[in-house]
Symmetry: C2
Amino acid sequence: MADETLLLKNVRPWGAEQTDMLIEGGRISRIEPGQSPAPGVAVEDGAGALVLPGLVEAHTHLDKSLWGMGWRMHQAGPSLRDKIDTERRLRAEWDIDPHRQSTRQALLSLGHGSTVIRSHVDIDTDVKLAGLEGVLRTADELAGQIDIETVAFPQSGLMSRPGTLELMDQALAVGADVVGGLDPCGIDADPKGHLDAVFELAERHGKPIDIHLHEPGELGAFSMEMIIDRTLAHARQGNVTISHAFCLGMPDRDRARALVQRLAEARIHIATVATPSRPVPLATDLREAGVTLCAGSDGIRDTWGPYGNADMLERAMLLGLRNNLRADADVEHALWCCTFGGAQMIGLKDYGLTNGSRADLVLVDAESVTHAVVSHPPRRLVLKGGRIVARNGQTQSRMP
Amino acid sequence: MADETLLLKNVRPWGAEQTDMLIEGGRISRIEPGQSPAPGVAVEDGAGALVLPGLVEAHTHLDKSLWGMGWRMHQAGPSLRDKIDTERRLRAEWDIDPHRQSTRQALLSLGHGSTVIRSHVDIDTDVKLAGLEGVLRTADELAGQIDIETVAFPQSGLMSRPGTLELMDQALAVGADVVGGLDPCGIDADPKGHLDAVFELAERHGKPIDIHLHEPGELGAFSMEMIIDRTLAHARQGNVTISHAFCLGMPDRDRARALVQRLAEARIHIATVATPSRPVPLATDLREAGVTLCAGSDGIRDTWGPYGNADMLERAMLLGLRNNLRADADVEHALWCCTFGGAQMIGLKDYGLTNGSRADLVLVDAESVTHAVVSHPPRRLVLKGGRIVARNGQTQSRMP
């Protein structure tokens, strides 16, 4: 299929002048207005729609969504620990099947124009590798429609739950792409043990790192500095992501900016959800320091909460609202985070809208990029490697 | 039209058991499952949809939207004063016609199921009463479809812009429903003069008060206490609203809660936008103290910023996200603010879902109230006084 040729007529790359885009061998091969299709070449008329590179869902949990399972009342208590424990209990009671649920959420993403997902997947002594196996199966089945990268994620604790480290090691051996971590102080109460273990796993398997850091204020800053130190000591620059990083939203802006400066030196990426109820890393601070900011939906309609729809254009809007971005160039940067930022973080090759880029593309009817962000209408067309995978918000594959 | 009889079959009032609702003379007259229509009575099948009372847009600016005017790049500088001055300049340059633009935004609201709007309308020495006249004309033309209440709003300053007070007086004489005010310190730099003038206007015209208070922290607390003092001294309990009230989001939670307690005693209402980038009044604090919280979209795609779509179900979601509301009962309270809360603030009579209530109703396909908030799908049907005014998101009246 990727070898088919397709001519996209009348599209505006990232809101620029209208042009035509020829796609051959899964890549953009020619961008020029007024192209006529060679005999037998399929043509899609964009009718003036924007064309954007495929959206990147840089932080979510495919194994946990309740999407399509009928409405469930929320049961979790207020603390992070409550939510973790409630989830582990309900996973079994409610039969939250990781394969079925990850397929549902991935197709939901695809319908909204995401063509790449980084998903954390729980690894613990109850579920063991079953969650990962389910998501890997989904990744395999949806190959060619959407790329799914998996993070082995010790949601219930790493050092504090004996047996988890060995399971993490196995997870990375059987196919998890990234080493996860979580609140070295707040959850594991052993920052040295936790972070040494995470970096050692990464070294052994030659894989990047992505650590959830919810710890606020100075506690989070303390853990963040330990992560930065290890990134430099292990020469892992460019291979480490910190997710959430709430501590960067601390009131002491000078302290936060000093941390951002160190993150830039260590080339550590930040993944955000732009959570409206928590302090968050400020997009402008990171941008000025040259730290890559990417974004994700986090959990979607799961036991943690009812929100989410996997729409990364809507996420760009939330990122804009959270950061009080109003000028068009600033709102466009919010979308940059949900496209190029995610691609940089994951290390995608040939991502973009230029000749030779992989034809992972999304067409959306809007007057400008900012208009697309604030209105986030249904996606007219989604292409993966040049192949049409969704149209008018509907994926070609049926949701199970 | 209001005298027609309509039988709404298979609807779930606020997510309760499915039933039928008979509507006669513009009111709900019988709620009981299994009703058969009398001869000649129109029937609408809700097919299990939720029925909610008409959504209440409690804080917006109908005279300022750029909706439908083609995309305009954002030009305003960062400060509140920049935004005010840029807007006054562009209003003329861009021909932001208050009648046309208020009609557009009101119909946008209606399509999303709002049946009542409180709109602030700029009164200043440039525009004089032209904005108000435009919105009053819209209110008149859309009567029977949506109720529009107007606030005479001294956006550019009251004491600091001589001539504005006289214009406010005229505005209230020709039909503005509410006396507006704005940052007595931050904009007018004369809190005593400003608030005395506002309360005097309210007394003279026998009208309620709605004051924009963006002032943060202790400055906002100072102005808020002056408002509370005057509310008690003038015996205006129940007739004063403070919009935004960012100071209630101050870090000193004890100080904020003490203010909330005084607001409860003075029966002052709070209108919020749930701004993700600013401290905001906390829904839970207000609810516990018995202070009515209502919500609005604020400006929609105007010279202040590109965001907004007039969807008060989406606003309930933003209110939930901003306040970290996760349990179903808490998310339902966010919707309460966007329905009953707004109705209480405005003082609507016979609002609700019980026998005898005015049949201002919205039908939405969702499994539960929380599901309606987080998914906010197109509205199946909107009724105003028993008359169908929108269907599947489309209003019966065409947008100009």
